[in-house]
Amino acid sequence: MAHKTRILIADDHQLVIQGILISLKEVGDFDVVTTNTCDAAFKLLKANQHTNPFQILFTDLSFDTCEQGTELVDGEDLIKALKKQGVDVKVCVITAHTETNRVFNVISNLNPEAYLLKSKCTSAEIGFAIQKMLKNEYYYTHEIHEKMMRRNIVQIQVDDIALQILRELPNHPKIINLEGVIKKSDGALIKLRSIEAKLANLRTDLNANNNIDLILKAKELGIID
């Protein structure tokens, strides 16, 4: 049993837990523990941290916290606490929340390994997400991935410097040539190091493999003409 992947499921709705359990059974043999509150989840994770650690945590974001004295009121609190305590566990958010703000908050601040939506989720997707997580990769369900992509595009559109870099990049054979071309709104020049950092971020945001790919994607997405 030592090789079994230990999974903890935290959700306040028993029905959802049942659903996940069924799905998990379909995709593999796991050592699964369930809990209805974040506090309990945290305790379990922390207690087993060194003896018999969980590899994966499935958690909802919203918890019905009518009980008094609850410390961790929602999924965000739980993830935050885990990161803070250095509990090493892959986190898969499985929730109904699709509000961009909340999704963005969770992804950018808590950086969970996977983000699944209850309503669209299938057993196959859960299995795929587990595989990815175990390989130290990320998996966001399609809707969330698209959301984040769109958001990145908007962010780039708002970012004048990013736009400048994207526009100027095709005109210069080397990145070093961009130095002295890219300017802040107050006219100050941007240093090469900042330009390179920006480019790296842009590649990540737009899922580009290299700078040429980045330009192509930017054009494709209508960020630049």
């Binding site: 306040d12 709705h13 029905l15 919203s62 918890f63 019905d64 965000e76 109904a96 929340h97 699709t98 509000e99 961009t100 703000n101 909340r102 963005f104 908050n105 950018s108 601040n109 959301k147 769109r150 958001r151 595009i153 908007v154 962010q155 559109q157 708002v158 709104s185």
Partner: protein, 655 residues
């Protein structure tokens, strides 16, 4: 008695000498015709001439000419004893003064007024106006003019036998004139002083001052020293005569008489000298010589019609005859003297002759003379005393006034100080009042501002609370309502109620959206900028291109979350409105920040609406309410086919 007589000689002498110095005031007029008229007036004494001269002068309209004409003719009318014209001059000067307001003119006016009284022998009034005139001159620092008035005043006092007063006046004059190094009036003052000394039996001193007078006379140009020597010797003779040193007196009288042409050129002095010479001889028993002299003097005086002199002559003759026991002749002359004395109201001489007659005439007649004399003396004494008092009073009142003035001045300066002090206190008071007012205002404004800030903060708190409530509702909707619906949906799905399941799906979606609308992320975990970007990315696939301008120009970290929430909700509402209603293809969010406020302008290029016609929708109304609740300013600009622009301004600190 002889003493008294000799005094009277002197009186007469001064009356005669008075016009002499006044004469010098005569100057040659600027206008020839006026000069001509003046000359004619002095000769003919025609009372119409001054009027004419004044008319001519008034036509020139030159002040100096006018004044000079008034002065000259005024003085001449005094010499002419032309009362009407003195009065006229005085009136003219009064008129001139009322126009020019020159104090000097007023001083002159008083002078002529005094002359007017003097001509009418009203010594007290004359003295009074001289005094007034003098005081003005003193104030004007015109010492010479003041000296002249003082000289006249001293003369009046002397004639009225107020010798002490006269002496005081003279000394005042001397004090006034001495710094000027002037000779003419100084001399006259010395002479007057010597006269006073002479009459008050201080002959040594009198002689000293007569000599001083003479010394000064020497320094005056154009003065015929020969006659001045006569004048001196005459004075000196009188002093010896008063000391009953008749031999010495005769010696000096003789000196006078021996000067050639004195008889014709200076008749009155010749008469005086001869009379004195005769009197001294008479006193030494040389009666024949005395009689001869008396008669010559009488003849001369009769020829000149010199009435005052005639009294002396008659009296002396009467005395001489009485001494000779020629009673009839004595009575004859005494009666003559009495008659002339009565004519010119020479009271002292009247009294003297009455007494003389009472001695000469026996019986009832003699007694009557004595009684008349007693009565006269009584009234004389009264008058003398009255005048003295009058003079003293004039002086005293001036002094009193001066003291009063001084007191007033002190009072004034005291009052000024008091006023100054009060003013200062007032200023201090005002300053204090202003200060405290400022302080109160300051305090009030602090209190007011704090209150305002507290209200503002309370409002922000309210926004935050409402936000929390919304969250709660959103959470309930999501977790409970949506959860229940999901369960129901699942049941329906498993029971093959597909139609109902589909409807329920729609409801679920709506509830979810509602929940999303109500829920929000804290700005502490997701920044305002990121939230705006998230919001915009939600509309990514719509046909509107949303542009954000200068979002980094605002220091969002320092801005209250409730303000950010309000702005965020406003942006979402605007975008939704634009998306739903306007068919706009572009929407611009423009941010700006000042020291005190944050500005947001949301403009689209949609169809717009006529703000005058169309009411705001509930969304816009809510937006406005939210903004105004936290002291913000909201206004919307729109016109058909012109797009819509919303301006939002929110004060960062509520003031």
């Amino acid at each position: 008695m002889k003493q008294q007589q000799s005094k009277i000689f002197l009186l007469m002498f001064f009356f005669l000498s008075f016009p002499l110095f006044s004469q010098t005031e005569e100057n040659i007029g600027s206008s020839d015709s006026i000069v001509m008229l003046l000359k004619e007036y002095s000769k003919t004494k025609d009372g119409n001439l001054p009027q004419k001269a004044f008319l001519i002068a008034e036509q020139t309209k030159i002040d100096s000419v006018l004044k000079k004409t008034y002065f000259d003719f005024g003085l001449q009318s005094y010499f002419n004893k032309d009362t009407a014209n003195i009065k006229l001059t005085e009136r003219k000067l009064q008129k001139l003064y009322s126009q020019t307001k020159e104090p000097a003119t007023l001083a002159k006016r008083y002078y002529y007024k005094s002359l007017f009284h003097k001509v009418q022998l009203r010594a007290d009034s004359a003295f009074y106006y001289l005094h007034k005139s003098k005081n003005i001159s003193i104030q004007l620092k015109d010492s010479l003019e003041a000296t002249r008035r003082l000289l006249s005043m001293a003369a009046i006092q002397f004639f009225e036998k107020d010798f002490l007063g006269s002496e005081i006046t003279i000394i005042e004059g001397l004090r006034m004139v001495e710094p000027l190094e002037e000779v003419f009036f100084t001399g006259l003052l010395y002479e007057r002083l010597a006269n006073v000394l002479f009459i008050t039996e201080r002959q040594e001193e009198a002689r000293k001052y007569y000599l001083k007078f003479f010394e000064l006379q020497k320094r005056i140009p154009k003065v015929k020293l020969k006659y001045e020597k006569v004048r001196l010797n005459l004075h000196l003779a009188k002093t010896y005569e008063a000391e009953q040193n008749y031999t010495k007196a005769i010696e000096y009288f003789r000196k006078c008489l021996l000067v050639d042409s004195v008889k014709t050129k200076s008749t009155y002095r010749y008469e005086g000298a001869l009379e004195g010479f005769s009197f001294s001889n008479f006193m030494l028993g040389n009666k024949k010589l005395a009689l001869k002299g008396y008669l010559e003097v009488l003849k001369s005086r009769q020829a000149r019609g010199h009435k005052r002199g005639l009294i002396f002559s008659y009296s002396l003759l009467g005395e001489l005859y009485a001494d000779d026991n020629k009673k009839k002749k004595a009575i004859f002359y005494a009666k003559k003297a009495l008659k002339v004395a009565k004519e010119i109201r020479q009271s002292a001489k009247i009294s003297e002759n009455l007494f003389f007659l009472s001695n000469l005439v026996k019986g009832e007649k003699g007694r009557q003379y004595l009684a008349a004399r007693a009565m006269l003396n009584d009234s004389l004494y009264k008058r003398e005393r009255g005048l003295k008092n009058q003079f003293a009073k004039v002086r005293y009142e001036t002094e009193k006034k001066e003291i009063e003035n001084r007191l007033l001045k002190q009072e004034n300066s005291r009052r000024k100080l008091e006023l100054e002090r009060q003013r200062q206190q007032k200023v201090i008071g005002w300053l204090l009042a202003g200060g405290s007012l400022l302080f109160i205002g300051f305090g009030a404004s602090i209190v007011f501002n704090r209150r305002k800030k507290m209200i503002f903060e309370a409002k922000l708190q309210q926004v935050a609370i409402r936000e929390k409530e919304r969250q709660q509702i959103a959470k309930s909707l999501h977790d409970e309502v949506a959860g229940d619906i999901r369960m129901l949906h699942l049941k329906l799905a498993t029971n093959k109620h597909l139609e109902e399941a589909g409807k329920l799906e729609v409801i679920k979606e709506n509830v979810r959206n509602l929940s999303h609308q109500l829920s929000s992320e804290s700005f502490d975990s997701v920044t305002f900028k990121d939230q705006v970007i998230n919001l915009i990315s939600d509309f990514f696939e719509s046909n509107i291109r949303i542009k954000i301008q200068e979002i980094d120009a605002v220091g969002w970290l320092k801005i209250n979350n409730s303000i950010k929430r309000t702005l965020f909700l406003s942006i979402r509402e605007s975008i939704q409105n634009t998306h739903k209603h306007t068919q706009a293809t572009a929407l611009v969010l423009e941010f700006r920040e000042t020291k005190k406020a944050v500005f947001l302008t949301i403009s689209d290029n949609g169809q717009g609406f006529d703000t005058a016609v169309k009411q705001k929708g509930i969304g816009l109304k809510n937006m406005q309410e939210r903004i105004e609740e936290i002291n913000g300013v909201f206004f919307i600009e729109s016109a058909l086919d012109q797009g819509t622009t919303i301006h939002i301004q929110i004060e960062k600190y509520g003031t």
